[in-house]
Structure formats: C-alpha cells, structure tokens
C-alpha cells in the first residue's frame, strides 16, 4: 500500500474519531498520547481501526504509546505489519 494513502486514512480517523475535530491543525508527527491530547482510552480504538481498515492485527504488547504516538508512527507500524504478512 502507498504510504500516503495509509497516512491519509490514519489522519482522517484520528481527526474524526479521536480528536472529534476535523478542523484541528494536526501535524503528522505531533505526539498524540504522550502530549495528553488524547488519553490511553483511545489505544483500543486505534487497534480496532487498524484491524478493520487494514485487516492487520496488532497484538497488545505492540499497541503501545511508543509505537502509536503520532499519525506518522501509526502509519509506519501499519506498513511494517502489512509488509511482514
């Protein structure tokens, strides 16, 4: 999958479902969890979004703040996971 295509999906999901504000000027490398912008409650949503949208299951131990802290990081994790399939 094209990185930009994946990134746009992650970005749209983050703005609409997590930040609930499509107008928010989110930078792709902006920390989401570590900044407190969204709380760890949303981690489960990120996991299910990746499963349903990309058909990729990220196991619990990898669904961490370290791996998922920005649109860029989430996209990279998805691409790495898809490449490994």
């Amino acid at each position: 999958m094209d990185r930009n295509e994946a990134l746009q999906k992650v970005r749209a999901f983050t703005l609409k479902e997590l930040l609930k504000n499509p107008e928010y000027g989110l930078k792709n490398d902006e920390p989401l969890f570590s900044s407190g912008l969204i709380d760890s409650f949303a981690m489960a949503q990120v996991g299910v979004f990746i499963e349903t949208e990309f058909n990729l299951y990220i196991p619990d131990p990898e669904l961490t703040v370290e791996n998922m802290d920005s649109v860029d990081l989430i996209t990279d994790k998805i691409l790495a996971g898809l490449a490994a399939q």
């Binding site: 930040l19 912008l37 709380d39 409650f41 949303a42 489960a44 299910v48 196991p59 703040v65």
Partner: protein, 581 residues
Amino acid sequence: MTLPFINPVEVLQRRAQETPNRLSHMLLGATDAESHSLTYSQLDAEVKKMAAYLQSVAEPGQRALLVYPTSLEFVVAMFACMYAGIIPIPTNPPGMNRSAQRLEAIARDARARLVLTTPEYQHAFLAEAAQFPDFAALTWVTREAVEAGSGHSLQIPVITPQSTAFMQYTSGSTNIPKGVVISYRNFSHNMHALHETRIRGNEYADDSVILTWTPLFHDMGLLIGTFLTPMDGTPSILMPTIQFMQNPLNWLKAIQKFKATASGGPNFAYDLCVNKIPLEKCEGLDLSTWKIAYNSAEPVRAETQARFAEKFAPFGFRPEVQAPCYGMAETTLVISYYTGEKKTITQRFRRADFEEGRLVPSDSDEQKESVEAVSSGVPLVDYQIAIVHPKNRKRCAPNEVGEVWISGDSVGEGYWNRPEDTKHTFGAHIAETHEGPYLRTGDLGFMHDGHLYITGRLKDLLIVRGRNYYPQDVEMTVERTHPALRAGGGAAFSVTEDNVEQLVVVHETQRREMDGVDWNEVIKTIRTNVAREHGIRAHAVILIRRATIAKTSSGKIQRSEMKRQYLANELQIVAEWRAPS
C-alpha cells in the same frame, strides 16, 4: 486498640512550621528543567491561598470535582478543599477523545457546586456546554482565578472523625456512578494502616522516598502519592502515568535516580517491565534502595512476581521487597499487606475441589490438577475479616472459599445519597449470630495461616490492566450495535490467556432478522463500539443462535455458564471473530 486521630490539616500545618524547607512533593517533567517541587511551607501557603478563595465562592460541605492531570495543582486542590471544609471528589480527566458524560454524571450524582481544574480543561468542557448544560452552571476554579481573587481570609473549620474527608467515585457501572464517602475517621485509620505497611517492610526511615506513577484520582495514587507524604514526613515523587506507559523503564530509572524506597502498581505494570524492557537497556540500573514493591488493584500472579524478581535481581532488586496487597475504594485504600519473606507466598489446591469452593491441598504442579492461590498479605491494624457464604450468609468452614467481608475503621461511611446500596454493601450481618455490620467486598477468598487469599469475584466485574469494567455496560453497548442482536441476550466475561485477562463478548442473534444480515460487518461494528465506549479491545466476539444464551429461571444472564461453554467450545455459533494468536 485505639489509634490516635490523624487530622491532615493539622499535620500539614505542623510540618510547614517544623520542617518548612523539607521537600513535600515533586512532579517529574520530561526533563529535569521541567520538574517542579513544593516544600511543606510552600504547599501550606498555596493551600491556604486557594482555601481562602474557595470559602469566598462556596459553603462548607459543598462538593467540588477535581479535574487535573498528575500535577502539584491536584495536591494543592485536595488539601485546599480540606482546609476550606469543601468535600473534594478526585476524577479521571478525559482526553479530547472522550466525552465528559461520566464527569457530568458524577457532578449530578454528587450535586457538585465547584469544578477545580486547569484552564485547558475548563475550555474543553465549556466547549461541550451545549451538550452538558449542568456544567455551565458550576463554579469553575482555576489557579488563575485564585491568583486574581486573592485577599480573602481563611476560617479553617473544626475537623472531627465524623466529618467527610473526600469522596471516591470508583464504584458502580458507567451509567450509575457511586461515590464512596470517606470520613476523617476512615482516612486516619487507613493512614495508620499504610504506616504499618512501611514499618512491616522496614521501609520507614529518614531517607525514605515514595515514588508513584499510578493516577492520583485513583485510591492508590491518592492515598500514597498525595497524602502519605505529609502524614509520614516522607518526600513524594509524582511521575505522570504517561511516562510509565511510554516506557516502563522510565519507572525503574526514576526509582534509581531518586533512591525511592516505596513504589508499586498493579500486576500488569510488573508484567510490562518483564516483557517490554530489553536487558541491554538495564545496564547500570540499581534498584537496591527499593524496600516495598507493592502489587495491588488487580489479581496478583505468582508467575509475574517470580519473573520480575528473577529478571531484576542482577540490578539489586530483592524478592523479599515484593508486597502483594489488597484494598479497594470502599475501604479508603489498603486492607491487607505482606512483606518480609523470600518469595511470594502461595498455596496449591486440588482444582476439582477448588472450583466447587473447597480447599484440599495438592502437591501437584500440573495446571489441570491444581490451582495456585497467591497470598494478598495479612490484614492490617484493627480489621476483622469474615469469610461468608454469599447466599445463606453463614460463616464458612476454614477449608471453604466464601465472600470476603470486612469491618474496621477504614471501611467507608457508605455510598453518597444511596441508602439502599449502602445498606446492601456496607451493612451486612452474619446470619444467626448477627455480627456486623460488615462491608461485602464482592470478592471471593479464604484465610490461611493468617493470610488473606483472593481467588475470584462474586460480582461480575472484569479487571483488565487495573481498570474495572462492568459486564452489563459492555453488553448494553453490544446490544445497541444492531437490531438483529437480541435485547438482553448478551454475556460479557473475561478469560485468562497468557496470564492476562481478556474480554470475550457472546451475543444472541434474532432468527427473523437473520436473512441478509452481514454478520461480519456487525461484528466489526461491535468491536469498534466496544473500543470507543469502553477503551478495551474484545479478544473474541461470538454471535450465537437464538435462545441459546443461558439464563436463570428469573431471566438473569448466566455469565459463568456462557464462559464455560466458550471454553469448552460448546457455543452454537452463527458468526465469530477471535484475535489471532
């Protein structure tokens, strides 16, 4: 035994006079330059300023929600309420991703008058004011408002053991929050109990340091991180929870850096350290100052304790500092605590008997043959524990598992404004002898050699990563996903896989709706909705044939029977999704 009454307002003022320059609390930032601290005299001064302001905008006895991240402001606000005679209610501040619905439910239930918070949260909440009109009617207090409104005088109220110290909203399902009323009598007794844990652990000394990363709005962070410090005169290092979640090594490194003597968390935190910290990153790590490593708020696993001790022994970690504990918001915090042995104390029992509530010792190490129960320690000062048959309310025989009932001065005064729930949970009496009142913990367990063992739950509560979930809340979310799912036909329960509790959802379908329904899409929506509303990923979602969910004769869902069918592969499945293994 009569323990002296500890009045936190007097104690903090005395510390401010006797040791004004001693460190009270330090908040860790991402770098040293971003860390902040308060001495006793600074804390006392900040508290008095805020308390005076609070008295100018509210009456004694009114309730205030505290909505803060882990911060020194939270500590100031807690004490300021106590100095002002306002009843503080610590709450879990939601991120932008979450609705303020639960906060509003708490505000309504407590009939709160004030919200003490930061300007950022105030802004975010008032943006939702149209949705939550009750919020706009509250008085919002930020540090800026306090600074602008200074110059008020403070009248510290008389505090008696019967006065309310604070309320803890941690019980009850999402939609019906219940506030545990903690009086100063309860608070004082639990402070003695916490102090006793330190004495037993040989941890209490002039160079003691407490380090917490668990949230301050939760009983463990609240009592240990916020209050224990001034009461015992030990500095408290506060680490924002996110710093631990980002990398559990941050926790261990902070213990080393500040030479912390007491620190801990739920079982999953120790698992994370074992599974997520690469050994090569531990070079130079020194955990030798650690004297109490408490493990509480979810079931303690012997395997986790053993693996943690083994992995970190080369870095100065001593297994005898591992301290499984047991406690809950209804008892202020701590009930039992244990320390001093070389390893976690466990007992093995024959599985077949154990599952029926009988304790028959077993020598077998085989999982199939035996179960291993982990001691949650020895009950602390002045607690009475009774193990009781939950149905007939008679005391169990010594070799039987029953519901754990507790009495003692730490047991809270009841649920705020809920006399029926209070009577049921806080006012239990043993049949025939009428001993009581006891608190019904809803947990199952037994006593053995003076140790309390918790073996399961009577109440259908799911505990995943230290968070409590009520199955009826999850079932309601699932049911609302699609009209082809039968109302009241779902069971949510947890199973243990790889030592971790996981959520399983089973739900009945309706036959007349079945034609043309894309069940896989329904399952996707269920997973999405459960994650969004509860912050948890379902491990398995299974839709079953109509009229195959187990119910009692009175129509209650039999979650344990559905769990049994799930484990035995006996469900009549229409469609399913399971997490890949």
